[in-house]
């Protein structure tokens, strides 16, 4: 559907991407990684080297207005001088004689009936967001690009709009590229994810691969794996490797099925949600914690930072599973995941 080959410019460095028809593809990365620049290149708003193909055709010579791309900008850019209805109908008025049916359908789909006669300054953040989405969908685009559209909304509204959008995307089957710096949002929305850093793709893959098998320390950190330790394997027996964390005496047992060149320096990742706190030592890895540094209340979950010997560990626990009497930090040898750095 969308094939990007060797895309480079002042930010991007040799980007290759292939996005399937009907896919909800997420570009994830920090500010300045080049996410928006990829969207701008697809739309034709910036110069680049390389090639972009939509349905097998190069878009180089296709004027912006004929590319059939719906773009929801980060700041939305609703036309302030047009009422909601006129904003949604803007693209249709230009291209079609009968647009009323389509606009009315979108207004119903996004529950905008009571807002049609309002100017954008009279809308809430969530309402503006829905109007921008309706406007982009109105032209019946082949592709929809969304540039961090929810980052200025409050938590509940963003959740609501995100769910609505995902439903609409699934119903319409429209190919979507969604830009975000929020890994939780990416996790909720994505079919596949590309993680970007400094204009390059660090990793691309199914969302489970990105979250559970990151290929670099940057990706691991960015997707919320806070327990990343440098070190190396000192022993390997019966598919269990012993990993010594650098500058510490902590040894972690890791189950490794495949051949592993264990002399090399590696990064060890432990997902915070796969660690438990128990009264007694359990699992292949268990450590007595020396102190709890903090506990952050996140509704049904707790973010806990504990200190074990020389190191700090992040743990995410269900509130019901937490007790101050549980002093053992435990996780199975299946949990740790190794990233080779050399």
């Amino acid at each position: 559907m969308i094939d990007i080959k060797s895309l480079s410019n002042f930010i991007l460095k040799d980007i290759d991407l292939s996005i399937k028809k009907g896919e909800l593809f997420v570009l994830l990365g920090p500010n300045g990684a080049g996410k928006t620049t990829i969207l701008n290149a697809i739309t034709g708003f910036c110069d680049y080297k390389g090639n972009i193909y939509i349905d097998g055709k190069s878009i180089e010579n296709i004027p912006i207005k004929e590319r059939g791309i719906g773009y929801v900008f980060q700041d939305l850019y609703l036309f302030p001088h047009m009422k909601v209805y006129e904003n949604i109908a803007f693209g249709l008025k230009i291209n079609k004689k009968t647009y009323k049916t389509r606009v009315d359908k979108l207004i119903r789909l996004l529950n905008l009936e009571r807002l049609v006669d309002r100017y954008p300054y009279n809308l809430s953040g969530g309402e503006k967001q829905k109007v921008a989405l309706a406007r982009a969908l109105a032209i019946d685009p082949k592709i929809i690009l969304m540039d961090e559209p929810l980052n200025k909304l409050d938590y509940n509204t963003a959740n609501y709009i995100r769910d609505e959008f995902k439903k609409i995307q699934r119903t319409t089957g429209i190919t979507t590229i969604y830009v975000t710096h929020d890994y939780l949002e990416a996790r909720i929305l994505a079919d596949r994810i590309a993680v970007l850093k400094d204009g390059k793709i660090e990793q691309i893959g199914e969302k489970e691969d990105i979250f559970y098998y990151p290929k670099t320390g940057f990706v691991a950190k960015f997707v919320g794996i806070n327990n990343i330790f440098e070190g190396n394997i000192i022993e390997y027996n019966n598919k269990i490797a012993k990993f010594l964390i650098k500058n510490s005496k902590i040894v972690i047992n890791i189950k490794i099925d495949s051949d592993f060149s264990y002399r090399e320096s590696s990064l060890l990742c432990i997902h915070p949600e796969k660690i438990s706190l128990n009264r007694e030592p359990k699992e292949d890895n268990h450590f007595l914690l020396s102190k709890i540094i903090y506990i952050k209340d996140r509704g049904p979950l707790l973010d806990i930072k504990v200190h074990i010997k020389e190191l700090d560990f992040d743990i995410i626990l269900a509130k019901a599973a937490f007790s101050l009497e549980n002093r053992y930090v435990c996780f199975s040898s299946n949990v740790p995941y190794l990233i080779q750095t050399t």
Binding site: I64, I69, F73, D75, Y77, F79, F90, I94, R135, I139
Partner: protein, 244 residues
Amino acid sequence: MRKILGLIPIIIFILIWQLVARAANSELFPSFTEVIKEAIYLTKDGILFKNFLASLFRVLIGFSLGATMGILVGTIMGFNRYINSTLSPIISIIYPIPALGWLPILMLWIGINEMLPITIVFICSFFPICYNTSYGIESVDKNYIYVAQSLGASKMMTLWKVVFPLALGNIFVGLRLEAGMAWRVIIAAEMIAIPTGIGALMMRAESLVRMDVIIVCLLVLSVMTFLFERFFLYLEKKTRPWNP
């Protein structure tokens, strides 16, 4: 309440004027009531109305032409960088010349007839409105243009439906300021070179030492400047209802 508060200094000013003029008892310092009496006389006599119409006609024609051309050229300049680069230097050179500075040249080129004050008002209006319009068009956030283009709008449609409405704020600033300026310039031009109009009436009154007539003319100028500026403020509110 706020409007009533604004009237208080005016009333105090008139009272002081009346008292000082009575005390001075001089032809060079007529009282407020004498000025009003003269205004009524000049209106009944038709002199004031005739000269006012002459000035109004010149302002309306000159300003309408200047504003229309200014908006047109400014829009093209603001939207097309090549035309902007071509016209900007010449406009930058001519723009700082005061409108009345053209008077001697225009008197020789056009002669002393109706075209002279109209041309002066045209020059006075055209350049600032052109400049403000061009600036307004250029200042429109480029992302609105990108949005319009991605939704399928042609360049002309983008200009007409998106860019021009969003530039109206700046365009109206130019129109408001120059509507008042047109009156100031026409009065000055009539005082120097034209035998009819409010400015010419003031010069005749000056030669007859009729301070009351001069003040009546100044009041007319003040009211017209105020009304013209208010008219464009009203028009702006009507054409930009989205601006809260």
